[in-house]
């Protein structure tokens, strides 16, 4: 569906909605989760919204907003032992309250009236049954078809969701299909009994950007053809613009704002909605720094972060936008950040013809090599950022680990400031190790859970014999914490007490302890919510401005790379597809693969994002 069609459909729907009652009306939905014997955690708090017939409604929120819990509670699929739905809650399906219906009624409704697809198609399909067995099971059990009828219908369904050679795919097991095909099978199963409402819970989050585009188009097409309503649950506002008619923005289990797509995107009223729209890096421009949620909300407004863990704001001499006396900062609102290389740059890191193989057992006694990196060459300039973009399986993480010396390259060379680096970190001198550091993707896995933050930050100092005493190292750790925006009280705490963004700050502080020259950021902001992502990106940018760090910025997220990188390298199946200045690659991509990648980026019809 093109943007204008979406908008016109929307206006139709909204005029209809006045006359006919909505297909699904949720009012006052409140869900508590039991944490232990006494404590409850309120996941959804007095939530109300409705889904009209033949309309796509998007439920948007960051992690912990309660959007998935809402979806599961509509079908009463929450674990009964720990989830408690309050008695005042109503989920009206064509006038009937689903929360009071019998289990048999609900069983009948699931699939036939309301069906659902999930985030990870790989784990959502039963691994030990074939696609055909799983597709026909529902048809035979629910629609009472014969085996033969069900098989014919299953084939039609696979055809409808765009799976080539459906007859052969029926005999395949889920793991034999690609991620996109798995999600198509899930969709086929979901529409097999002609539901009137399809709940799609982050259906494309686990997929690569090009596959995401295909699945989105399939969903829009099916919604039209089957005249279904779709409840589309996502964290990605970009997808909402293309897909949905109406939007419900959620935060901490409550509705922040709801309305039509054009309303929400063009005239958002709630500060949180405005913040969400603003903190994604835009593709059309490159502001000096990203807006963060605090730019829109007063400190008192729904701030969940434990205040004692952050450095004091009062009396902070630094005005918004940067650090006085360190870097001259233009006005953050208007100035664009220039990217690219100047004519004379100091090359810090050179990687030449890097190759990495992983052995796979094959045949009777033989082994075969899987080539994860093939002839990869790159240069990294002092104080600049090289963005490395690739879809899953492109070898981008392998590249980062190999340069860091955590994986041993099978061929090729790495030079640091003209000096040849040994392949593994163990062979490199301590001075060399200091100069290249790495920040990983998962902030929950990259800090040792048994160490206090003080221990985590002082370990690099201890290893490199910096600081004469514990007291001196502690002083240094406090400075590091302050630099990444955390208070000194964090020192005595353990990683599990921090949020994802705070942990990522600690990981960055740990790297800074060694005053590195190159920082490899391996999907370092991918696991974070957009609002936190913007803060960490701003921090990384500040650090680069202040210390002249060079970044090897690895990401699958094109918008983030566009914002951060001076140069870009596109990686596919271990090979470099395209390489060049960021602006040039993004505005005039030469290779068809790059063009496909760029086209797949979701763009909202209103042009706000």
């Amino acid at each position: 569906m093109n943007p204008t069609a979406a908008l016109s459909a929307l206006s139709q729907e909204s005029s209809q909605a006045i006359n006919t009652p909505a297909l699904l009306q949720v009012s006052n939905l409140t869900v508590d989760f039991q944490e232990d014997r006494q404590r409850f955690f309120r996941a959804v708090d007095a939530l109300s919204f409705e889904v009209p017939e033949r309309t796509t409604v998007a439920l948007v929120g960051e992690s912990g907003s309660g959007k998935s819990v809402t979806a599961l509670s509509l079908l009463r699929l929450l674990p009964q032992k720990i989830a408690r739905i309050h008695s005042a809650s109503r989920v009206l399906w064509q006038g009937q309250d689903l929360l009071t219906q019998s289990p048999a009624f609900m069983r009948h409704l699931r699939g036939a009236g309301i069906s659902m697809i999930f985030q990870d198609p790989m784990t959502s399909l039963n691994p030990v049954f074939t696609v055909g067995q799983q597709l026909t099971e529902g048809l035979r059990v629910q629609s009472r078809m014969s085996r033969r009828q069900a098989l014919v219908r299953a084939q039609e369904l696979l055809q409808e969701v765009g799976i080539p050679e459906p007859q052969r795919r029926l005999r395949d097991y889920p793991h034999q299909l690609s991620g996109g095909q798995q999600q198509r099978v899930m969709i086929a199963m979901a529409i097999s009994a002609h539901p009137r409402l399809l709940i799609a819970d982050e259906p494309t989050t686990a997929l690569d950007v090009t596959i995401q585009r295909q699945i989105m188009e399939l969903l829009m097409d099916l919604q039209q053809r089957h005249a279904m309503a779709v409840l589309f649950i996502t964290h990605d506002l970009g997808l909402v613009g293309e897909m949905a008619h109406q939007v419900v923005v959620m935060r901490h289990g409550r509705v922040c704002e709801s309305g039509s797509v054009s309303q929400i995107f063009q005239h958002p009223e709630n500060p949180y909605t405005r913040a969400l729209l603003a903190c994604r890096p835009p593709l059309s421009s490159r502001p000096w720094r990203l807006k963060t949620i605090e730019d829109f909300m007063s400190p008192t407004q729904g701030h969940a972060s434990p205040a004692h863990l952050t450095a004091p704001l009062s009396g902070d001499p630094r005005p918004e936008g940067g650090i006085v006396g360190r870097v001259p900062v233009p006005d953050p609102g208007s100035t664009q950040r220039p990217r690219g290389l100047a004519p004379q740059e100091h090359i810090l890191l050179t990687v030449a013809h890097l190759e990495k193989r992983f052995p796979i057992a094959q045949g009777l006694f033989g082994k075969r090599d899987f080539l994860a990196l093939k002839d990869v060459s790159l240069t990294l300039v002092k104080g600049k950022t090289l963005g490395i973009v690739g879809e899953s399986g492109s070898g981008k993480t392998t590249l980062g680990l190999t340069i860091a010396g955590l994986l041993q390259a099978d061929a090729g060379e790495i030079f640091f400031a003209g000096e040849r680096l040994p392949a593994t970190v163990g062979q490199r001198s301590m001075a060399m190790r200091r100069r290249i550091q790495i920040v990983f993707q998962n902030p929950f896995a990259s800090l040792n859970p048994r160490f206090t933050v003080a221990h985590i930050l002082s370990e690099p100092l201890l290893l490199h014999h910096q600081g004469r005493s514990d007291a001196e190292r502690t002083r240094h750790s406090v400075q590091l914490l302050d630099r990444v925006g955390l208070a000194r009280s964090a020192l005595k705490r353990y990683p599990h007490e921090f949020s994802g963004g705070q942990r990522q700050r600690i990981a960055i502080a740990r790297c800074l302890a060694l005053q590195p020259e190159v920082l490899i950021c391996d999907e370092s902001v991918s696991a974070l919510d957009v609002s936190v992502q913007a803060q960490v990106l701003n921090l990384l940018q500040d650090l680069q401005d202040e210390f002249g760090l060079a970044y090897l910025f690895i990401s699958h997220d094109l918008a983030v790379v566009h914002y951060m990188a001076d140069q870009v390298l596109i990686l596919r199946e271990g090979m470099v597809v395209e390489q060049g200045d960021s602006d040039q690659v993004f505005s005039r991509p030469q290779e068809p693969y790059t063009q496909r990648l760029l086209q797949a980026i979701p763009r909202d019809p209103t042009g706000v994002l």
Binding site: L72, L75, L77, K81, R107, H108, L109, R110, G111, A112, S115, M116, F118, D120, T123, S124, L125, N126, P127, V128, F129, E137, G138, V141, Q142, Y173, H175, M186, M189, A190, A193, A361, Q362, G363, L364, F365
Partner: protein, 314 residues
């Protein structure tokens, strides 16, 4: 990769392990065990008698020659005669295997069936009082020593109440199965079902928390279909593997039963051999059980690959 290539590769990989077992047994019995001549000859033997015995046993040869003899024995399946009864060892095992299997096969089948049913039941009612109390009961049941079960069971059920013969064995397997094997199997199940229930329960609960179960529910399948078709089929993979891997352990694990109930099986034979320091018999038993273990492991691996379409033969 096809089946025969897989089998060849796996059998080839067994060789170093088997050599290790042979070496272990050899070191234990021909080196650590000291001179068996003293054991056999008794206190009165003179030096000449001892030398004769050593010559007979071949223990006067250098160690490496003894090792070669041992390997030859293994390859020809001819382990000589028992020191205690002079019966050929191969024949001992041939005749003792039947009673052992009469006891073990029904025990294994019953144990698996009971354990899977109870585990499904408690998994269906997970977190309820039924689940919790059954788990505590099974912990208590498995904490009581098998010795206590056997002693009390034999005394009360067989001796006092006369429900079963106290012990014994006949020549006919059907008669054995219906009379003599019942009480031992019952006593064996008392200790073996509970740990299996606990294990299978965790296997089933692991599966119940998977995403595909949520999908099945979201498609409107009934709870019993979800549990018996989707969950059980997945949980069957670790369960079957576990049953097979446990088989060789059962063979020796049943030695207490065989000993108490005078069942002429392999387990009792091994205990007797240990009591009588009948080295050749223990050596042969160890090697034989090791081979059986490796083969059942291979069978378990094959079954695992057959049950789980995600795993290929490589």
């Amino acid at each position: 990769m096809n089946l025969s290539a897989f089998l060849i590769r796996r059998l080839w990989q067994m060789i170093p392990t088997l050599l290790g077992v042979v070496l272990l047994v050899f070191v234990l019995f021909n080196w650590v065990g000291g001179d068996p001549a003293y054991l056999l000859a008794g206190k009165m033997a003179g030096p000449q008698a001892l030398a004769n015995i050593r010559h007979q046993l071949g223990t006067d040869l250098p160690l490496w020659q003894q090792l070669l003899v041992f390997i030859q024995q293994i390859l020809t399946l001819d382990f000589g005669n028992s020191w205690a009864t002079q019966e050929p060892i191969a024949q001992i095992f041939r005749t003792r295997l039947g009673p052992s299997l009469t006891l073990l096969i029904p025990m294994m089948l019953l144990e698996t069936l009971l354990a899977v049913c109870i585990a499904l039941l408690v998994a269906a009612f997970r977190g309820s009082w039924l689940d919790r109390s059954l788990m505590v009961v099974s912990t208590v049941l498995m904490s009581i020593s098998l010795l206590v079960y056997i002693i009390v069971g034999q005394y009360v059920l067989a001796f006092l109440w006369g429900w079963f013969p106290v012990k014994g064995w006949s020549d006919h397997w059907a008669h054995n199965l219906t009379t003599y094997a019942v009480l031992p199997i019952l006593m064996g199940l008392m200790v073996s079902v509970a740990p299996s229930v606990r294990l299978y329960r965790t296997f089933i609960l692991d599966e119940i928390n998977q995403d595909y179960v949520r999908t099945a529910r979201a498609r409107g399948l009934s709870e019993s279909r979800v549990l018996l078709v989707h969950v059980l089929r997945n949980a069957a993979i670790p369960i079957v593997t576990n049953v097979l891997m446990g088989l060789p352990g059962l063979l020796t694990g049943a030695f207490l039963l065989e000993r108490f109930f005078a069942i002429p099986g392999i387990g009792r034979e091994i205990i007797l051999a240990v009591e009588r320091s009948d080295f050749p018999l223990i050596k042969a038993a160890t090697i034989g059980v090791a081979v059986a273990t490796l083969l059942t492991n291979l069978l378990g691996d094959l079954l695992y690959r057959w049950l789980d379409p995600r795993v290929h033969l490589d």
